[in-house]
Symmetry: C2
Subunit: 407 residues, 2 copies
C-alpha cells in the first residue's frame, strides 16, 4: 500500500473523523419501533416556516447560476433587523463554516518575524508558532475540531458547578500567545449560559490582542431570559468581538447551512476574503430570507420548546431523573456514570428515541435531549418508563443473583 503518512500533517492523521449517529432509516430497519423521535441534533422539531418552500422554488429558476457571493439581499435584511451596517455582516454556510473561516484566518501558525533563530520557541514535540485559543471544556465540539485542523493549541477550561461557564478561569487561561477565546452563549450541549453581569466582567477582562468569538446559535431561545446578555450592544466598544448566528436552530434550516457573523467591518472584510466565494447556496439564501420574515413561525417554535421543557422537567423530577436547567432547545440529563448514560441511550434507541451521547463534548456521563413536539415528548416519556422499569428489574435480578451467590 502507498504510504501517505509523510503527505498528511500528523495532527490531521491523529484527528478522529466524525462518526454520525444512526439515521431514522437505520433505526427503523434495525429495531422496528412503533414510532421514532429524533431528539439527537437540536433541530427544530416543528420543521421550518411554510414560506420557505415557495422561496426555494422561485430560486430554482436560476439554479444554473452561481449564488450571489455577497448574499446582498439577505445581508441587508439581517443588518436592518440587527441595527448594524450590512458591512458588519458576513453570511456563511452555517456556523460550522463561520468557525472554520475564523480558524483559517486567526489560528494560522505565527509568522516568523525575524531570521534570528534564538527568538523562536520550538520544542521537539511541538510545531513552530502554533496558534493558541481558549474555550470551555463542555462546549460546542465544532470549534475544537476546526481549530484542530489548523493545529492550534486549544485550552479547554473546566466548567464551574452546575455545568456553568467559569468566566474567571477562562480569563486566567489567557496568555500572551492566546489569539482567540470562544464562548457559546447559550451553551451547547449544557443549555446553560453566562449571565449579563458575568459576561460584562468577562468582556472587561479580555485583553485587546485576543479575538472574542461569541457563538449565539441558540440566541432566539433566550428570548425573555432577563439576564441573558445582548452581546450585540457591546460590539461598538468591542471591535475585537465577533458574534455567530445560525438559521439551523430556531429557524429550522439545518439542511440548508446558513449562518452569519456580525462584527467590525474591517474584520468582516478580511473574513470575506477567506470564506468560499460562493457560500452559502442560492436556495439557502432564499430560504433564510423567507424564514427571517416569518416571525409567527419563530414564535411557535420558541413556544414549542418552552412547553416541552416545562413538561420534561416535571416528568424527570417525578422520576428522580437529574437534569441541568436549560434556556436552549435541549436539556442535558446527568447520569451517575458513563455506563449508565450509555445503557440508557442504547435502550432508548431500541424504542425509537434517538438521543445524543456527549463523550465527544467531554461529558461521557451525560445525554442531550432535544425538545420536540408533544407527540415526541410523549414517546420519550413512555419509552423512558419502559426502559427504566426494565433496567431496574435487571438491576434487581443481578443484585439478587449476586446475593444468592454470596450466600
Amino acid at each position: 500500500m502507498f504510504d501517505h503518512s509523510n503527505r498528511i500533517p500528523v495532527h490531521i492523521q491523529e484527528m478522529k473523523g466524525y462518526v454520525p449517529g444512526k439515521t431514522i432509516e437505520e433505526v427503523q430497519k434495525i429495531y422496528r419501533p412503533a414510532m421514532i423521535a429524533k431528539l439527537a441534533s437540536n433541530e427544530n422539531r416543528l420543521g421550518c416556516s411554510p414560506r420557505v418552500r415557495e422561496a426555494v422554488l422561485e430560486s430554482l429558476s436560476a439554479v444554473q447560476n452561481y449564488p450571489d457571493p455577497l448574499s446582498l439581499e439577505l445581508r441587508e435584511e439581517l443588518a436592518r433587523r440587527n441595527g448594524v451596517d450590512p458591512a458588519s455582516i458576513l453570511v456563511t454556510a452555517g456556523s460550522e463554516s463561520a468557525i472554520s473561516i475564523l480558524c483559517r484566518t486567526f489560528l494560522q501558525p505565527l509568522r516568523v518575524q525575524s531570521p534570528d533563530m534564538q527568538s523562536l520557541r520550538v520544542q521537539s514535540s511541538d510545531m513552530q508558532g502554533r496558534a493558541e485559543a481558549v474555550t470551555a471544556e463542555a462546549t460546542f465540539v465544532g470549534f475544537f475540531v476546526q481549530a484542530g485542523v489548523m493545529n492550534a493549541k486549544v485550552t479547554r477550561v473546566p466548567m464551574a458547578e452546575g455545568y456553568r461557564f467559569d468566566g474567571r478561569a477562562m480569563l486566567d487561561a489567557i496568555r500572551d500567545e492566546t489569539r482567540m477565546i470562544y464562548l457559546a452563549n447559550p451553551n451547547n450541549p449544557t443549555g446553560t449560559y453566562m449571565p449579563a453581569d458575568e459576561f460584562r466582567v468577562w468582556l472587561e477582562g479580555i485583553p485587546d490582542h485576543v479575538l472574542i468569538v461569541v457563538d449565539e446559535a441558540y440566541l432566539e431561545y433566550a428570548t425573555g431570559v432577563e439576564d441573558y446578555p445582548q452581546a450585540i450592544e457591546d460590539l461598538h466598544s468591542r471591535p475585537n468581538m465577533l458574534l455567530l448566528r445560525t438559521f439551523s436552530k430556531a429557524y429550522g434550516l439545518a439542511g440548508f447551512r446558513v449562518g452569519y457573523v456580525i462584527g467590525d467591518p474591517e474584520l468582516i472584510g478580511q473574513l470575506a476574503k477567506v470564506k468560499l466565494t460562493f457560500e452559502p447556496t442560492a436556495a439557502a439564501q432564499a430560504a433564510a430570507l423567507a424564514a427571517l420574515r416569518d416571525e409567527a413561525f419563530l414564535m411557535q417554535s420558541l413556544d414549542l420548546v418552552r412547553d416541552a421543557r416545562a413538561r420534561f422537567y416535571a416528568f424527570l423530577e417525578h422520576h428522580d431523573g437529574v437534569y441541568v436547567p436549560s434556556i436552549s432547545n435541549s436539556v442535558m440529563m446527568v447520569f451517575g456514570s458513563e455506563s449508565e448514560a450509555s445503557t440508557f441511550t442504547e435502550s432508548m434507541l431500541r424504542e425509537g428515541v434517538i438521543l445524543r451521547r456527549l463523550a465527544a463534548f467531554g461529558l461521557p456521563h451525560c445525554v442531550r435531549v432535544t425538545m420536540g413536539t408533544p407527540e415526541e415528548m410523549a414517546h420519550f416519556e413512555d419509552s423512558y418508563e419502559k426502559v427504566m422499569g426494565e433496567l431496574h428489574s435487571k438491576a434487581v435480578s443481578v443484585a439478587q443473583l449476586r446475593g444468592a451467590q454470596n450466600d
Copy 2:
C-alpha cells in the same frame, strides 16, 4: 480605529477580495439593453434537469434536519457510475470547497521535525516551512486563492504556444519541497487541454512525494474528444492522484454547490476529516442525484455547447477575430492589448452581453465567452458587429484627426 493588523496574517491582509462582476439586475438598471446574455461564468445556459425541482421539493420536507454528512446515496451512485468504491469518493460543497479542503490538508506549513535550529530554512522575508505547490499561469484562479489562504508558495508555470499546458516546464518546476501539482483539464479559462499522450508522460514525471490534483470540472464537455485523457484509468497506479469533479457546469447546478473528489480511499478518509461535517446541503445532494440520472438533459447541454462553439468560431473567423479553439463550454478571445480587451468588454456590457475579463487569470488581453443558447449567441453576434463598427469608426476618426493635426 481599532488596529487589527497584528491579528490577521499579513498574507491574508495582502490578498485581494473577490470583486463580483455586474449582475443581470445591475446591467438592466444601468444600461437598459433590449436583451441580456450572461456569458460570463461558464454556467449551463440551458438551466438544469427538470427532474431537479421535484427532488429538491421532496428534500424540503426534512430541511430542518442536518444533511447526511456522508452524502451516502449520492456517493453510491457516483461510485457506481465511475466504477470505483464509494470509499474512493468525497462529496463536497463544489470544487471550490474541495480545493479548499485539499489546501487545508496538504498545504499547511511544514511541521518542524527537530529542535535543531540549524536545520530550519528561514528567510527574513519568509515564513517558516511554507508549503509549495506548482500549477500553470493561465488556469483556474480558485486554486491560487485557496492556496494563498494557507500562505503556500505557488509556482505558476507559463503556458506553451496556443495557451496550452507546458507539461515539461511544470515538471521542471517541481522541487523537493513541492507538495502538490494542480492541473485543470480541460483548462479554464483557455478551453485547451493536455492530451492523453502528454498527460501520461507528465504523470510519469511526477515524483511520489507530490500530490497530483487533476481538476476535471469541464470533463463532460470533453466527451468525444479522442485524445482527452481518462485520468480515472490511472488512479489504480497513482494513489497520489486526486480527481475533482463538479455539478456546477454541465449539470447546471452552480447555485447548489456540489462537487466531489475521487482518489485513494486512505487519502479520501483523511480529507473527510477536514471537510465541514455537513457539506453539501441536503437539497444539493438531492438535486445532484436527480441531475446525475437525467442523461438526456446532459446530452442536450453538450449539444448546445457544441453547436454554439461551431457557430462562434465561424462568426469570429468571418470577422477576423482571434480565439483559442476550445473543448469546453467557453471560448477565449485574444485581443492585441489589455486596453482593447477592456474596451470590447465594456462596450459589449452596454449592449447587455456580460463577458469575463481574465486579468485575475493572468490574461489581461483575453476575454472568456461562455457558449449560450442560439438566442444568446445571436445577441452576442449583433452586439459584436455594432460594437466593432463603432470602435472602428472611432479609431478612423481619431486617425483622421491625428492626420489632420499632422498636416
